[in-house]
Amino acid sequence: MTAGKMNLKNPSHDATSSPYLARNLWSGFLLGLGLVAFIDEAVFHQLLHWHHFYDKSTTSIGLVSDGLFHAFSWFATVGSLFMLADLRRRNALRLTRWRGGVLLGAGIFQLYDGTIQHKLMRLHQIRYNVNLLPYDLTWNIIAIGMMIAGAILIIRARNDLQPPRETHSHEHQ
Protein backbone atom coordinates (compact mmCIF):
# COMPACT_ATOMS: atom_id res chain seq x y z
CA MET A 1 0.00 0.00 0.00
CA THR A 2 2.86 2.35 0.77
CA ALA A 3 4.13 1.60 -2.68
CA GLY A 4 0.86 2.72 -4.18
CA LYS A 5 0.92 5.97 -2.25
CA MET A 6 4.52 6.70 -3.19
CA ASN A 7 3.71 6.13 -6.78
CA LEU A 8 0.84 8.59 -6.55
CA LYS A 9 3.08 11.24 -5.05
CA ASN A 10 5.74 10.80 -7.67
CA PRO A 11 4.35 9.54 -10.94
CA SER A 12 7.77 9.63 -12.59
CA HIS A 13 8.83 6.64 -10.51
CA ASP A 14 9.08 3.61 -12.73
CA ALA A 15 9.15 -0.05 -11.88
CA THR A 16 12.79 0.03 -10.72
CA SER A 17 11.85 2.13 -7.69
CA SER A 18 12.45 0.43 -4.39
CA PRO A 19 8.82 0.06 -3.19
CA TYR A 20 8.17 -2.48 -5.93
CA LEU A 21 11.43 -4.30 -5.30
CA ALA A 22 10.34 -4.75 -1.69
CA ARG A 23 6.90 -5.86 -2.82
CA ASN A 24 8.49 -8.50 -5.08
CA LEU A 25 10.32 -9.88 -2.09
CA TRP A 26 7.30 -9.76 0.22
CA SER A 27 4.96 -11.32 -2.31
CA GLY A 28 7.38 -14.23 -2.78
CA PHE A 29 8.13 -14.56 0.92
CA LEU A 30 4.46 -14.70 1.91
CA LEU A 31 3.61 -17.17 -0.84
CA GLY A 32 6.49 -19.41 0.26
CA LEU A 33 5.21 -19.37 3.82
CA GLY A 34 1.66 -20.04 2.67
CA LEU A 35 2.72 -22.89 0.38
CA VAL A 36 4.64 -24.69 3.13
CA ALA A 37 1.68 -24.34 5.49
CA PHE A 38 -0.64 -25.62 2.77
CA ILE A 39 1.55 -28.64 1.96
CA ASP A 40 1.86 -29.34 5.68
CA GLU A 41 -1.91 -29.37 6.05
CA ALA A 42 -2.80 -31.16 2.79
CA VAL A 43 -0.03 -33.78 2.67
CA PHE A 44 1.05 -34.45 6.25
CA HIS A 45 -2.29 -33.95 8.02
CA GLN A 46 -4.89 -35.04 5.46
CA LEU A 47 -3.20 -37.48 3.04
CA LEU A 48 -0.52 -39.22 5.08
CA HIS A 49 -2.13 -38.73 8.50
CA TRP A 50 1.38 -38.41 9.96
CA HIS A 51 0.68 -35.16 11.79
CA HIS A 52 -2.03 -35.12 14.44
CA PHE A 53 -4.71 -32.44 14.82
CA TYR A 54 -3.86 -32.20 18.49
CA ASP A 55 -1.20 -33.83 20.62
CA LYS A 56 -1.78 -34.37 24.33
CA SER A 57 1.63 -32.83 25.08
CA THR A 58 0.91 -29.59 23.18
CA THR A 59 1.69 -26.52 25.28
CA SER A 60 -0.81 -23.64 25.30
CA ILE A 61 1.73 -21.34 23.68
CA GLY A 62 2.01 -24.00 20.96
CA LEU A 63 -1.74 -23.83 20.43
CA VAL A 64 -1.58 -20.03 20.12
CA SER A 65 1.38 -20.18 17.74
CA ASP A 66 -0.36 -22.79 15.61
CA GLY A 67 -3.57 -20.76 15.46
CA LEU A 68 -1.76 -17.53 14.54
CA PHE A 69 0.37 -19.17 11.87
CA HIS A 70 -2.61 -21.06 10.52
CA ALA A 71 -4.63 -17.86 10.06
CA PHE A 72 -1.61 -15.91 8.85
CA SER A 73 -0.67 -18.54 6.25
CA TRP A 74 -4.19 -18.45 4.80
CA PHE A 75 -3.95 -14.71 4.53
CA ALA A 76 -0.38 -14.83 3.20
CA THR A 77 -1.29 -17.23 0.39
CA VAL A 78 -4.22 -15.19 -0.89
CA GLY A 79 -2.61 -11.80 -0.23
CA SER A 80 0.70 -12.68 -1.89
CA LEU A 81 -1.07 -13.84 -5.06
CA PHE A 82 -2.95 -10.53 -5.23
CA MET A 83 0.40 -8.75 -4.72
CA LEU A 84 1.81 -10.80 -7.60
CA ALA A 85 -1.11 -9.75 -9.79
CA ASP A 86 -0.52 -6.15 -8.71
CA LEU A 87 3.19 -6.35 -9.70
CA ARG A 88 2.27 -7.78 -13.06
CA ARG A 89 -0.27 -5.09 -13.91
CA ARG A 90 2.36 -2.49 -12.98
CA ASN A 91 4.91 -4.32 -15.13
CA ALA A 92 7.17 -4.44 -12.05
CA LEU A 93 7.58 -8.18 -11.54
CA ARG A 94 11.21 -9.26 -11.00
CA LEU A 95 10.98 -13.01 -11.24
CA THR A 96 14.41 -13.93 -9.78
CA ARG A 97 13.87 -11.77 -6.74
CA TRP A 98 10.33 -13.07 -6.35
CA ARG A 99 11.48 -16.71 -6.56
CA GLY A 100 14.18 -15.99 -4.01
CA GLY A 101 11.47 -14.65 -1.74
CA VAL A 102 9.38 -17.81 -2.19
CA LEU A 103 12.30 -20.08 -1.23
CA LEU A 104 13.34 -17.90 1.70
CA GLY A 105 9.80 -17.71 3.09
CA ALA A 106 9.25 -21.44 2.63
CA GLY A 107 12.59 -22.27 4.29
CA ILE A 108 12.16 -19.97 7.27
CA PHE A 109 8.65 -21.18 8.01
CA GLN A 110 9.58 -24.85 7.62
CA LEU A 111 12.54 -24.39 9.97
CA TYR A 112 10.30 -22.60 12.50
CA ASP A 113 7.74 -25.40 12.20
CA GLY A 114 10.37 -28.13 12.47
CA THR A 115 12.25 -26.71 15.45
CA ILE A 116 10.13 -24.32 17.55
CA GLN A 117 6.64 -25.69 16.84
CA HIS A 118 7.39 -29.42 16.69
CA LYS A 119 10.15 -29.60 19.31
CA LEU A 120 9.88 -26.67 21.70
CA MET A 121 6.11 -26.20 21.74
CA ARG A 122 5.41 -29.91 21.09
CA LEU A 123 2.49 -29.12 18.78
CA HIS A 124 2.75 -32.54 17.21
CA GLN A 125 5.59 -34.65 15.81
CA ILE A 126 6.26 -35.30 12.14
CA ARG A 127 5.23 -38.92 12.53
CA TYR A 128 4.28 -41.19 15.41
CA ASN A 129 5.63 -44.60 16.50
CA VAL A 130 8.84 -44.31 14.45
CA ASN A 131 12.40 -43.21 15.09
CA LEU A 132 11.99 -39.46 14.65
CA LEU A 133 15.63 -38.49 14.06
CA PRO A 134 15.81 -39.14 10.28
CA TYR A 135 12.47 -37.36 9.80
CA ASP A 136 13.52 -34.33 11.83
CA LEU A 137 16.89 -34.13 10.07
CA THR A 138 15.36 -34.34 6.58
CA TRP A 139 12.71 -31.79 7.50
CA ASN A 140 15.13 -29.20 8.84
CA ILE A 141 17.93 -29.76 6.31
CA ILE A 142 15.45 -29.19 3.47
CA ALA A 143 14.34 -26.03 5.28
CA ILE A 144 17.90 -24.70 5.56
CA GLY A 145 18.59 -25.67 1.93
CA MET A 146 15.59 -23.63 0.78
CA MET A 147 16.71 -20.66 2.87
CA ILE A 148 20.21 -20.72 1.37
CA ALA A 149 18.91 -21.11 -2.19
CA GLY A 150 16.49 -18.24 -1.62
CA ALA A 151 19.20 -15.99 -0.21
CA ILE A 152 21.48 -16.73 -3.19
CA LEU A 153 18.72 -15.85 -5.67
CA ILE A 154 17.94 -12.60 -3.86
CA ILE A 155 21.61 -11.56 -3.75
CA ARG A 156 22.01 -12.42 -7.42
CA ALA A 157 18.92 -10.40 -8.30
CA ARG A 158 20.30 -7.46 -6.35
CA ASN A 159 23.72 -7.66 -8.04
CA ASP A 160 22.45 -7.34 -11.55
CA LEU A 161 19.68 -4.88 -11.02
CA GLN A 162 18.70 -3.65 -14.43
CA PRO A 163 15.84 -1.58 -15.68
CA PRO A 164 12.95 -3.96 -16.39
CA ARG A 165 12.52 -5.17 -19.91
CA GLU A 166 9.33 -4.91 -21.88
CA THR A 167 9.41 -8.62 -22.67
CA HIS A 168 9.15 -11.39 -20.08
CA SER A 169 12.80 -12.51 -20.29
CA HIS A 170 13.49 -12.19 -16.57
CA GLU A 171 15.37 -15.49 -16.52
CA HIS A 172 18.49 -13.73 -17.81
CA GLN A 173 18.78 -11.43 -14.81
Partner: protein, 281 residues
Protein backbone atom coordinates in the same frame (compact mmCIF):
# COMPACT_ATOMS: atom_id res chain seq x y z
CA UNK B 1 -39.84 -31.20 11.08
CA UNK B 2 -38.41 -34.24 12.74
CA UNK B 3 -39.25 -33.78 16.37
CA UNK B 4 -39.54 -37.41 17.46
CA UNK B 5 -35.92 -37.89 18.44
CA UNK B 6 -35.94 -34.47 20.05
CA UNK B 7 -38.86 -35.44 22.30
CA UNK B 8 -37.09 -38.64 23.12
CA UNK B 9 -34.05 -36.84 24.43
CA UNK B 10 -35.77 -33.85 25.97
CA UNK B 11 -36.59 -35.62 29.19
CA UNK B 12 -34.82 -34.42 32.28
CA UNK B 13 -32.79 -31.26 32.24
CA UNK B 14 -33.29 -30.22 28.62
CA UNK B 15 -35.78 -27.64 27.43
CA UNK B 16 -39.23 -29.23 27.21
CA UNK B 17 -41.06 -29.86 23.97
CA UNK B 18 -43.42 -26.87 23.87
CA UNK B 19 -40.75 -24.36 24.82
CA UNK B 20 -38.39 -25.89 22.29
CA UNK B 21 -40.90 -25.37 19.48
CA UNK B 22 -41.60 -21.85 20.68
CA UNK B 23 -37.91 -20.99 20.72
CA UNK B 24 -37.44 -22.38 17.20
CA UNK B 25 -40.39 -20.39 15.87
CA UNK B 26 -39.27 -17.20 17.61
CA UNK B 27 -35.80 -17.53 16.09
CA UNK B 28 -36.98 -18.48 12.59
CA UNK B 29 -39.74 -15.88 12.23
CA UNK B 30 -37.49 -12.77 12.04
CA UNK B 31 -35.40 -14.40 9.29
CA UNK B 32 -38.52 -15.26 7.34
CA UNK B 33 -39.68 -11.65 7.68
CA UNK B 34 -36.27 -10.39 6.54
CA UNK B 35 -36.59 -12.47 3.36
CA UNK B 36 -40.09 -11.14 2.64
CA UNK B 37 -39.09 -7.53 3.33
CA UNK B 38 -35.97 -7.79 1.13
CA UNK B 39 -37.86 -9.17 -1.86
CA UNK B 40 -40.61 -6.61 -1.33
CA UNK B 41 -38.05 -3.77 -1.17
CA UNK B 42 -36.32 -4.96 -4.33
CA UNK B 43 -39.70 -5.07 -6.07
CA UNK B 44 -40.79 -1.61 -4.89
CA UNK B 45 -37.47 0.12 -5.58
CA UNK B 46 -37.21 -1.37 -9.07
CA UNK B 47 -40.04 0.97 -10.10
CA UNK B 48 -37.99 4.08 -9.31
CA UNK B 49 -34.41 2.89 -9.83
CA UNK B 50 -32.50 0.62 -12.18
CA UNK B 51 -33.08 -3.07 -11.74
CA UNK B 52 -31.80 -4.48 -8.42
CA UNK B 53 -29.25 -7.21 -9.34
CA UNK B 54 -30.80 -10.65 -9.12
CA UNK B 55 -27.60 -12.17 -7.68
CA UNK B 56 -27.98 -9.97 -4.60
CA UNK B 57 -31.48 -11.29 -4.01
CA UNK B 58 -30.18 -14.84 -4.44
CA UNK B 59 -27.39 -14.21 -1.91
CA UNK B 60 -29.96 -12.89 0.55
CA UNK B 61 -32.31 -15.84 0.06
CA UNK B 62 -29.46 -18.35 0.49
CA UNK B 63 -28.22 -16.54 3.58
CA UNK B 64 -31.67 -16.52 5.15
CA UNK B 65 -32.11 -20.22 4.32
CA UNK B 66 -28.78 -21.04 6.03
CA UNK B 67 -29.88 -19.17 9.13
CA UNK B 68 -33.33 -20.78 9.16
CA UNK B 69 -31.79 -24.25 8.71
CA UNK B 70 -29.68 -23.59 11.78
CA UNK B 71 -32.50 -22.46 14.09
CA UNK B 72 -35.50 -24.59 13.11
CA UNK B 73 -36.05 -28.14 11.90
CA UNK B 74 -33.97 -31.31 12.02
CA UNK B 75 -30.55 -29.69 12.48
CA UNK B 76 -31.79 -27.50 15.35
CA UNK B 77 -33.39 -30.56 16.98
CA UNK B 78 -30.23 -32.61 16.73
CA UNK B 79 -28.11 -29.71 18.01
CA UNK B 80 -29.55 -30.24 21.50
CA UNK B 81 -27.88 -33.59 21.97
CA UNK B 82 -25.29 -33.72 19.18
CA UNK B 83 -22.42 -31.26 19.53
CA UNK B 84 -21.33 -31.77 15.90
CA UNK B 85 -24.82 -30.77 14.73
CA UNK B 86 -24.64 -27.79 17.07
CA UNK B 87 -21.33 -26.78 15.48
CA UNK B 88 -22.79 -27.21 11.99
CA UNK B 89 -25.58 -24.86 13.04
CA UNK B 90 -23.03 -22.43 14.44
CA UNK B 91 -21.12 -22.37 11.13
CA UNK B 92 -24.35 -21.74 9.22
CA UNK B 93 -25.82 -19.13 11.58
CA UNK B 94 -22.67 -17.31 12.66
CA UNK B 95 -20.50 -17.46 9.54
CA UNK B 96 -22.14 -18.53 6.27
CA UNK B 97 -25.49 -16.75 6.68
CA UNK B 98 -23.85 -13.42 7.67
CA UNK B 99 -21.40 -13.65 4.74
CA UNK B 100 -24.12 -14.38 2.18
CA UNK B 101 -26.39 -11.71 3.64
CA UNK B 102 -23.59 -9.11 3.66
CA UNK B 103 -22.96 -9.89 -0.03
CA UNK B 104 -26.62 -9.04 -0.66
CA UNK B 105 -25.97 -5.35 0.26
CA UNK B 106 -29.17 -4.98 2.32
CA UNK B 107 -28.38 -1.46 3.52
CA UNK B 108 -27.99 -0.19 -0.03
CA UNK B 109 -31.36 -1.70 -0.88
CA UNK B 110 -33.02 -0.17 2.17
CA UNK B 111 -31.55 3.28 1.45
CA UNK B 112 -32.79 3.31 -2.12
CA UNK B 113 -36.22 2.00 -1.16
CA UNK B 114 -36.95 4.56 1.58
CA UNK B 115 -37.96 8.12 0.70
CA UNK B 116 -35.28 10.79 0.94
CA UNK B 117 -36.14 12.02 4.44
CA UNK B 118 -36.18 8.56 5.97
CA UNK B 119 -33.07 7.47 4.07
CA UNK B 120 -31.24 10.54 5.33
CA UNK B 121 -32.34 9.83 8.88
CA UNK B 122 -31.16 6.22 8.57
CA UNK B 123 -27.80 7.25 7.16
CA UNK B 124 -27.42 9.66 10.09
CA UNK B 125 -27.98 6.75 12.44
CA UNK B 126 -25.37 4.73 10.55
CA UNK B 127 -22.91 7.62 10.93
CA UNK B 128 -23.50 7.96 14.68
CA UNK B 129 -20.75 7.14 17.15
CA UNK B 130 -22.31 3.97 18.67
CA UNK B 131 -22.48 2.38 15.21
CA UNK B 132 -18.98 3.64 14.52
CA UNK B 133 -17.64 1.89 17.64
CA UNK B 134 -19.65 -1.26 17.00
CA UNK B 135 -18.51 -1.44 13.39
CA UNK B 136 -14.81 -1.08 14.17
CA UNK B 137 -12.99 -4.31 13.23
CA UNK B 138 -11.47 -4.69 16.70
CA UNK B 139 -14.80 -4.30 18.55
CA UNK B 140 -16.67 -6.48 16.07
CA UNK B 141 -14.01 -9.21 16.37
CA UNK B 142 -14.08 -9.14 20.16
CA UNK B 143 -17.88 -9.43 20.16
CA UNK B 144 -17.77 -12.29 17.68
CA UNK B 145 -14.79 -14.44 18.72
CA UNK B 146 -14.90 -13.30 22.36
CA UNK B 147 -18.54 -14.34 22.55
CA UNK B 148 -17.64 -17.81 21.28
CA UNK B 149 -14.85 -18.19 23.85
CA UNK B 150 -17.35 -17.24 26.54
CA UNK B 151 -19.89 -19.75 25.21
CA UNK B 152 -17.59 -22.77 24.97
CA UNK B 153 -15.14 -22.27 27.82
CA UNK B 154 -17.67 -21.44 30.55
CA UNK B 155 -20.87 -23.12 31.71
CA UNK B 156 -22.86 -20.96 29.31
CA UNK B 157 -23.11 -23.79 26.77
CA UNK B 158 -24.66 -26.17 29.32
CA UNK B 159 -26.94 -23.43 30.71
CA UNK B 160 -28.13 -22.57 27.21
CA UNK B 161 -29.45 -26.12 26.79
CA UNK B 162 -31.69 -25.73 29.85
CA UNK B 163 -32.89 -22.14 29.61
CA UNK B 164 -35.05 -21.13 26.64
CA UNK B 165 -34.43 -17.40 26.99
CA UNK B 166 -30.67 -17.90 27.14
CA UNK B 167 -30.90 -20.24 24.16
CA UNK B 168 -32.63 -17.55 22.08
CA UNK B 169 -30.28 -14.77 23.21
CA UNK B 170 -27.14 -16.79 22.40
CA UNK B 171 -28.42 -17.58 18.92
CA UNK B 172 -29.34 -13.95 18.23
CA UNK B 173 -25.90 -12.89 19.44
CA UNK B 174 -24.11 -15.47 17.28
CA UNK B 175 -25.89 -14.24 14.16
CA UNK B 176 -25.64 -10.49 14.86
CA UNK B 177 -22.00 -10.66 15.94
CA UNK B 178 -21.20 -12.70 12.83
CA UNK B 179 -22.94 -10.15 10.63
CA UNK B 180 -21.27 -7.11 12.22
CA UNK B 181 -17.91 -8.88 12.00
CA UNK B 182 -18.38 -9.63 8.29
CA UNK B 183 -19.44 -6.09 7.33
CA UNK B 184 -16.62 -4.60 9.40
CA UNK B 185 -14.12 -6.56 7.26
CA UNK B 186 -15.50 -6.42 3.71
CA UNK B 187 -17.30 -3.35 2.47
CA UNK B 188 -20.21 -4.25 0.22
CA UNK B 189 -22.65 -1.67 1.59
CA UNK B 190 -21.62 1.99 1.88
CA UNK B 191 -19.55 2.29 5.04
CA UNK B 192 -19.34 5.73 6.69
CA UNK B 193 -16.34 4.82 8.86
CA UNK B 194 -13.74 2.95 6.88
CA UNK B 195 -10.71 1.26 8.42
CA UNK B 196 -7.51 0.85 6.41
CA UNK B 197 -6.75 -2.41 4.63
CA UNK B 198 -3.74 -3.06 6.84
CA UNK B 199 -5.85 -2.60 9.99
CA UNK B 200 -8.55 -4.96 8.70
CA UNK B 201 -5.99 -7.51 7.51
CA UNK B 202 -4.25 -7.63 10.89
CA UNK B 203 -7.49 -7.78 12.90
CA UNK B 204 -8.98 -10.42 10.59
CA UNK B 205 -5.87 -12.60 10.96
CA UNK B 206 -5.94 -12.35 14.75
CA UNK B 207 -9.70 -13.03 14.84
CA UNK B 208 -9.31 -16.10 12.62
CA UNK B 209 -6.47 -17.29 14.83
CA UNK B 210 -8.76 -16.90 17.85
CA UNK B 211 -11.31 -19.08 16.06
CA UNK B 212 -8.73 -21.79 15.20
CA UNK B 213 -7.27 -21.80 18.70
CA UNK B 214 -10.75 -22.12 20.22
CA UNK B 215 -11.62 -25.07 17.98
CA UNK B 216 -8.48 -26.95 19.07
CA UNK B 217 -9.18 -25.97 22.66
CA UNK B 218 -12.68 -27.48 22.37
CA UNK B 219 -11.10 -30.62 20.88
CA UNK B 220 -8.91 -31.00 23.94
CA UNK B 221 -11.26 -29.60 26.60
CA UNK B 222 -14.91 -30.53 25.87
CA UNK B 223 -17.51 -28.04 27.16
CA UNK B 224 -19.64 -29.31 30.07
CA UNK B 225 -22.11 -31.97 29.00
CA UNK B 226 -20.26 -32.81 25.77
CA UNK B 227 -18.53 -36.16 25.32
CA UNK B 228 -14.86 -36.31 24.26
CA UNK B 229 -15.75 -37.93 20.95
CA UNK B 230 -18.33 -35.28 20.06
CA UNK B 231 -16.02 -32.46 21.12
CA UNK B 232 -13.31 -33.84 18.82
CA UNK B 233 -15.70 -34.04 15.87
CA UNK B 234 -17.18 -30.63 16.63
CA UNK B 235 -13.77 -29.01 17.12
CA UNK B 236 -12.49 -30.31 13.80
CA UNK B 237 -15.65 -29.21 12.01
CA UNK B 238 -15.27 -25.75 13.51
CA UNK B 239 -11.58 -25.61 12.48
CA UNK B 240 -11.93 -26.74 8.87
CA UNK B 241 -15.43 -25.38 8.24
CA UNK B 242 -14.26 -22.01 9.54
CA UNK B 243 -11.27 -22.16 7.19
CA UNK B 244 -13.47 -22.45 4.11
CA UNK B 245 -15.58 -19.42 5.00
CA UNK B 246 -12.50 -17.47 6.17
CA UNK B 247 -10.89 -18.08 2.78
CA UNK B 248 -13.82 -16.29 1.13
CA UNK B 249 -13.52 -13.37 3.58
CA UNK B 250 -9.77 -13.09 2.94
CA UNK B 251 -10.28 -13.30 -0.81
CA UNK B 252 -12.91 -10.54 -0.74
CA UNK B 253 -10.74 -8.27 1.41
CA UNK B 254 -7.66 -8.74 -0.81
CA UNK B 255 -9.73 -8.27 -3.95
CA UNK B 256 -11.07 -4.99 -2.60
CA UNK B 257 -7.46 -3.92 -1.89
CA UNK B 258 -6.49 -4.94 -5.43
CA UNK B 259 -9.26 -2.81 -6.92
CA UNK B 260 -8.62 0.18 -4.65
CA UNK B 261 -4.88 0.32 -5.36
CA UNK B 262 -5.08 0.03 -9.12
CA UNK B 263 -2.49 2.24 -10.84
CA UNK B 264 -3.00 5.96 -10.96
CA UNK B 265 -4.49 6.49 -14.39
CA UNK B 266 -7.60 4.47 -13.69
CA UNK B 267 -8.12 5.39 -10.04
CA UNK B 268 -9.95 8.58 -10.92
CA UNK B 269 -12.10 6.75 -13.41
CA UNK B 270 -13.05 4.11 -10.92
CA UNK B 271 -14.04 6.63 -8.32
CA UNK B 272 -16.00 8.55 -10.90
CA UNK B 273 -17.90 5.43 -11.93
CA UNK B 274 -18.49 4.55 -8.26
CA UNK B 275 -19.99 7.99 -7.62
CA UNK B 276 -22.20 7.81 -10.66
CA UNK B 277 -23.34 4.28 -9.72
CA UNK B 278 -24.16 5.60 -6.34
CA UNK B 279 -26.26 8.43 -7.69
CA UNK B 280 -28.13 6.14 -10.01
CA UNK B 281 -28.65 3.35 -7.69
Amino acid sequence: MNINNYVHHSTGTHIDYANGILAQLLLALPFFLLLVVYIFAAFISNRRHKHWPIHRTIFWALGVLCAIAAVIGPLANRAHMDFTAHMMGHLLLGMLAPLLMALAAPMTLVLRTLNVTLARRLSNVLKSWPIRILGHPVVASCLNVGGLWLLYTTDLYAMMQRNVLLHILVHIHVFLAGYVFTVSMIYIDPMPHKSSFVCRAVVLTVALAGHSILSKYIYAHPPHGVSTEQAEMGGMLMYYGGDVIDAVLIFMLCFQWFKATRPRASVGMEQYSKVSNYNQG
